[in-house]
Symmetry: C2
Subunit: 429 residues, 2 copies
Amino acid sequence: MVPASIFTELTMANPLLAKRRALLGGAYRLFYEEPLHIVRGRGCYLYDAQGRRYLDAYNNVPHVGHCHPQVVAAISQQAATLNTHTRYLHEHVLDLAEQITDLCADGLAHMLFACSGTEANDLALRLARARTGAEGVIVTESAYHGHSCAVVQLSTEDTPPARRGDHIVTIPAPDSYRRQASGPEQAADLDQALAELERRGHRPAAFFLDTVLSSEGIATVPEGYLPAAVARVRSAGGLFVADEVQAGYGRSGVSFWGHERLGVVPDMITMGKPMGNGHPISGLVTSADVLDAFTRESHYFNTFGGNPVSCAAALAVLAVMRDEQLMARARSTGAWLRAELEGLAAQHEVIGDVRGSGLFLGLDLVQDRSRQTPATDLAAELVNAMRQRGVLLGRTGLHGNVLKIRPPMVFTREDGSLLLEALADSLAA
Amino acid sequence: MVPASIFTELTMANPLLAKRRALLGGAYRLFYEEPLHIVRGRGCYLYDAQGRRYLDAYNNVPHVGHCHPQVVAAISQQAATLNTHTRYLHEHVLDLAEQITDLCADGLAHMLFACSGTEANDLALRLARARTGAEGVIVTESAYHGHSCAVVQLSTEDTPPARRGDHIVTIPAPDSYRRQASGPEQAADLDQALAELERRGHRPAAFFLDTVLSSEGIATVPEGYLPAAVARVRSAGGLFVADEVQAGYGRSGVSFWGHERLGVVPDMITMGKPMGNGHPISGLVTSADVLDAFTRESHYFNTFGGNPVSCAAALAVLAVMRDEQLMARARSTGAWLRAELEGLAAQHEVIGDVRGSGLFLGLDLVQDRSRQTPATDLAAELVNAMRQRGVLLGRTGLHGNVLKIRPPMVFTREDGSLLLEALADSLAA
């Protein structure tokens, strides 16, 4: 999610804006002061209605690149052959579940399918409650986990405390930059959260964490934090849900899932955005222990979840990732880009911290390096300035001051050079 | 939804069953005592791995027929061109919102997009709560409205009272067959429900009704029921949500939405299953009044909801409906089929009632016509017998004794004749 101030009010002359306002009302937001009317995409590039090309350094959904021909072909062929549901037998849903569970730790062997990250996290909450018999949830401040009635309350970025149930308790995001304490010390936040839940009469069902801490500013998790945090939750009877909707699918370059970098095996893994390269599909992997507890009281059916076309799209994404070695490429391109950005930081005091891994990088912009005062307005200006220079990126974090670089995984050094040039120019201007 | 007893236990020799059990666990169910392994679909027909053809008289999701070439082409072309989200401007989402809101009553002019019927109903609940400041919900017994944490509690078919929040109160489904009272008399159920909500300390946010009462046994709503019911809810401050996920899109043959037949303009309309002919897309239409209340406290973004590919699929479905006059065909084919089924009922005492409209028909099977005792086991046997004869249908209702005939909208009299022949044979056997 992106702070409100990078969205625009619909006041421009473009007739699409008036039509949009009339039909969609005021609930939706557009990116950029001058919104984009995108008509075509390919690889890391988007093209607007005037034919102008934009380097897409923002969108993680088109994971293997916009309109990858192998994914398009898989969708087209399966859509022409059969699209049904999981109440008939079909190979695709099983092949996909097999390939994904093979990428998970031993014991995380069962998979359920849904349509969106929201549905996956909502389902994880249902399973956690069935397994634990408890209601309480611990999330970070400035978290994003989706938008259903249940999980929008876990999206503390969007939902103020007064609109959250009292079963939800927040902790500060783990952070190596703005907090001085060690990982195990920061994990003591969980003690306070668990005590607060108990004070409110709740036991913990789950601790949800986006393992790349995207909406928390792509914060760097200090060494030793997550094992210590999860141990506390588990000893109080709760489960750990790794929200891999953004972090997963090799995004970090160093492991397929974000939690692997953080030294923990979760009780559930949720995934979504990159799975179908834009086609709506999401899922959840868990253990027999957790799933059986749910199955004893409920069954699960999702009309579109796990249909053959969605699974064909997702199988094609995994095949392209293997064929084009996208995780290894993200590692090497990301390491190079991060080093270059650190070079830029050496020249610009406003870049307080360069962080992230693979193709999910953050630049923490500050007014004052020693005091780390967030440079929120500057971040907003830079996002718009970069858009004017033909490079799309976003910003994130509790203060909206962290530039978010999160391109499709086919992003190259040539693409990175374009980005760096535009960023150097924008910073100079 | 279909009663559990028509699902099978995974005990057969088919290796796909063992793989499915290992990977998906026990939460999913399969149709039929002998599950189907479907590999191909076209129009109203599905084909299994052995090449056997089945007449599909069950699936309402492939609304314009399995693998309709115009829908497949729209998906393929747009997937090859661009798939992004609603934070850039794009024509498709606006054209779709325009076409759909044009099919709604004046004042229902705004549309939001999601991925599944569950997400649409869950969002309707968020909007209803924002508009009313209330929490209470009224639903029928044996309702189905989805499977998220919030709306699975409204799916009283699946969720027993002990697992529903005390903000949910049920009413008996309106019914012209098993209940003797008039429509306005049955609407007095709402008085009791509202009083019960008040007793529990809740005000009503919404009354949700699937306007074809699918999981309630495709019950016939008595004349005058819904206006009287909705007036009571509104006078207590609540909204009426017409769940058109199954009833909408011309299914009844006589109106595009189910609520139009029942004489009410809803505060919100939710839709899903047929929208994309199997491609995951859903939506919600509401008034400026309701949407503005939500927008004052929240914004809305759904990563996949309203993307150009999903909208292209949905635009193609609407175009095919117009080109092939599917609503008019459903009306005439459905009227003919219903008359033929009534003829069958004249010969078979077990058919207690033939009901429904267009291509959503129900046969209420009874052990005794005068006592209307549900013939649940017979319904289960017939569903499996029909499957063995190559005709797919389901069963529904509180007692699982209502045969459900709900084919793709391209179903013809020739298809109907096949169904009738198999049904006559099955009833004779």
